[in-house]
């Protein structure tokens, strides 16, 4: 009997290691990748504003209040599906949304916002996609929650639903009232 202790123990250990691996594996394949940006300062950028032509938007607007940074484009189908959620978040009024229009046609983007409604406090145009690279974006839409110190605390890859917003993002904000912002449109 004693001679089985070591092999059985080794086998049990192997089963445990494999079980932990299987149960910790990401669901639905490995599509969602944890962003290395979480817990780090939001990448700096200076981009032209989409609507207020001639003005620049600087990453400095993200300081001093909570912000949701949303990367989108009119060429992106899922962004259209997500749009209603963004409008709802805007109506909720707790966090201003800063849009980064990724590799898009300015005119198409402006039309999109005037037809579907504009959930953004301000929108910047990342025409050559360099800023999206700094944010580690690989599939629009992507949304980042940035805290008042300018640290990225949460990320959504792909379209956001109200459920995602309430379960993943809102808990970060605590129970305080509307987060202030000085970004200006």
């Amino acid at each position: 009997m004693k001679r089985f202790v070591v092999p059985l123990g080794a086998f049990a250990l192997l089963v445990i290691v494999l079980a932990v691996g299987i149960f910790n594996a990401p669901r639905n394949g490995s599509k969602v990748i944890v962003s290395p940006l979480l817990g780090k300062p939001a990448p700096a950028f200076t981009l032209p504003k989409l609507i207020d032509v001639g003005q620049q938007l600087d990453a400095g607007v993200l300081r001093g209040g909570w912000h949701l940074v949303n990367i989108w484009g009119t060429w992106c189908g899922e962004c259209r599906a997500e749009h209603e959620t963004l409008l709802q978040i805007k109506r909720e009024g707790r966090v201003p949304i800063v849009g980064i229009d990724w590799k898009d046609d300015d005119a198409a983007a402006t039309t999109w916002l005037s037809q579907l409604g504009n959930p953004y406090e301000t929108v910047a145009a990342d025409r050559d996609g360099r800023v999206a690279i700094d944010w580690g974006v690989y599939g629009a839409p992507e949304s980042f929650l940035v805290d008042p110190r300018g640290i990225v605390v949460e990320k959504q890859t792909g379209g956001m639903t109200m459920e995602d917003w309430q379960k993943k993002f809102l808990p970060h904000l605590g129970t305080g009232s509307a987060a202030g912002s000085k970004a200006g449109a």
Binding site: S30, K103, G129, G136
Partner: protein
């Protein structure tokens, strides 16, 4: 009958040739339209790097082989970083800082995966240890599997 068979064979040969030509032509249609780097050594490094980064949108393709728009942007970024005089390791760090270790097809050793690298060596040593112990134990056993002395000789 015979002539029709040879005609068929000739047609088959022509078709094969045509298919080969089409295949060759598509293979030579490059996905990568980033302008080449001025220095051949640098271009070589560019090719090496773009083949070792993953395309984040089509995750089993290398940056070099993907025609997704983001892959094109990232190739351009590698191109520009090389021109700016960055080393290969600096460019790898640049990509990992943005997209995570997942962008590397060849994962680097770190604290989280060190056990994975060590495991084969540790297991080999453990196996050797067990083998040596078993052999020593066996060597101490009396030899009792010899044929009994009263067995009649074989024919």
């Amino acid at each position: 009958m015979r002539s029709s068979a040879s005609t068929r064979r000739r047609w088959f040969a022509r078709l094969t040739l045509a298919a080969a030509a089409v295949a060759w032509a598509t293979a030579s249609l490059a996905v990568d339209n980033t302008p080449p780097l001025p220095d051949p050594a640098m271009q070589q490094r560019y090719l090496g790097l773009t083949h070792e980064f993953r395309c984040m949108q089509c995750q089993n393709e290398a940056l070099a082989d993907s025609n997704v728009s983001l892959a094109g942007d990232l190739r351009m970024q590698v191109h520009d970083l090389l021109l700016a005089g960055k080393t290969d390791d600096q460019i790898r760090d640049y990509m990992v800082a943005r997209y995570g270790e997942f962008i590397l097809f060849r994962p680097r050793m770190n604290l989280h995966n060190a056990w994975l690298w060590a495991a084969p060596g540790v297991l080999l040593l453990a196996g050797l240890g067990i083998a040596v112990r078993v052999m020593k134990q066996r060597a101490r056993l009396p030899i009792d599997d010899e044929e009994p002395p009263d067995t009649p000789p074989r024919a």
